[in-house]
Symmetry: C2
Subunit: 247 residues, 2 copies
């Protein structure tokens, strides 16, 4: 993951987003994600790409025994400590790519909108599977393959500037894409839905949920939000590591 978030201008703009100011309540996908989160009581929780730490705080506030949030951005971690510091929550500067923990270190692994910045997804899946205890759960959100396929991540417009539809292209050509996010060029990785899901299944995970979040009715009044019913923007997936001897 690039350290774009340590760029002061970018970090400032990120701070103005609803999800940065309002936390989970300001994130359009939160209701969907919350519905597929496991019970955190007594669990050891890892958050990959924790950002401001909203999900770490949620886990701690819902009974987690311990929470470790990792992120590669120093500024993000400073904000996380300030906004979402808790007893039992540790924030550590570490990239998802470099992370390594002993087998069975965690009961729950989370990752919110970070995996599309990671080039080697299979490596993440393999490591998370190993870090989880049997019965452990991995829940993540990532940008939807429909949203990442073409690259620019923008609608197709008519001459009057009205949205015509959302363009999909190069779907089966996986790899890096130059997207624009908060006015800055950001490198993301496109992969197919097949790669997201078969990678989990091939790593030994069993799928619990595959959801495409759509904005809740309560947010449809926000300008532009109704257009989010026209395309899928995110995936929310939960999977578990089967107990030994079960399917």
């Amino acid at each position: 993951m690039e350290n774009k978030y340590d760029d002061p201008v970018f970090f400032e703009r990120y701070g103005q987003m609803a999800r940065s100011k309002e936390g989970l309540a300001g994130a359009g996908e939160w209701e969907t994600l919350r519905a597929i989160l496991p019970d955190f009581s007594g669990k050891r929780v890892l958050d990959l790409g924790c950002g401001y730490g909203w999900h770490c705080a949620w886990a701690a506030d819902h009974g987690a025994a311990s929470v470790l949030g990792i992120d590669c951005s120093r500024k993000m971690l400073e904000a996380a400590k300030e906004k979402n510091g808790r007893a039992g929550v540790e924030y550590r500067r570490l990239s998802i790519e470099e992370a390594a923990f002993p087998t069975g270190s965690f009961d729950v692994a989370l990752s919110s909108l970070a995996l599309h910045y990671v080039e080697d997804l299979d490596s993440v899946y393999r490591r998370v599977y190993q870090w989880l205890s049997p019965g452990g759960v991995f829940v993540f959100t990532a940008e939807h393959p429909v949203f990442t396929a073409q690259g620019p991540q923008d609608w197709d417009y008519d001459k009057e500037g009205r949205i015509r539809h959302f363009p999909v292209d190069s779907y089966f050509l996986e790899g890096g894409r130059q997207a624009v996010f908060l006015g800055e060029a950001v490198r993301k990785y496109h992969r197919t839905l097949t790669t997201y899901l078969e990678g989990l299944l091939g790593s030994g995970f069993s799928l619990l949920h595959v959801q495409e979040p759509q904005p809740p009715a309560s947010m449809l009044g926000i300008p532009g939000m109704k257009d989010e019913l026209r395309r899928p923007m995110m995936l929310a997936v939960s999977a578990w590591k089967p107990e030994r001897g079960s399917a």
Copy 2:
């Protein structure tokens, strides 16, 4: 499912498609589907919307104890008996919507490119789950939600008639779509990926594979086939009914 296939003109056109003339080898998704088919040895097999019966014949030729192919088109079933009649294969005129069998009647259920014609997918999932024996497998292909979302199922073209990209629209508005197939208006049903997969999980199935077929390298020389790398057109899914007591 409409009986469009009993329209003589439509049926004649369908007969000219590569998949109709060459069978499984003429279907771009076959290599992907074949790789996720279960072992048929000694199995009781049901094919929902069997068409010309290519998959029924494949199952019989690979050791199935019995095969029942159902379809609502009389002409399709006549062609199936002629092209793919086999000892142990029965073809019966019955719609997917009306089909009913005793609990545990089958070990494998197949459906090739038929479910996007069915309005009530959950009803199909519930019934297939009931018809399968514990450990039984359900494998199907259907048109991809990206392909069905907007409706017309056509590319977006520039003024010179070149493909610009594939349009996605109305993704979260599930329901009927008027598509054009072989020059005729055909009613299909769009649903999200969420609906396809969560419906299976919610019915008690455990997911084995979620694949988006892409044309094999050997077919990329066929005119237009390389464009199929630009959008996903189909889903191929396999799932199983867990044995009692396992996950």
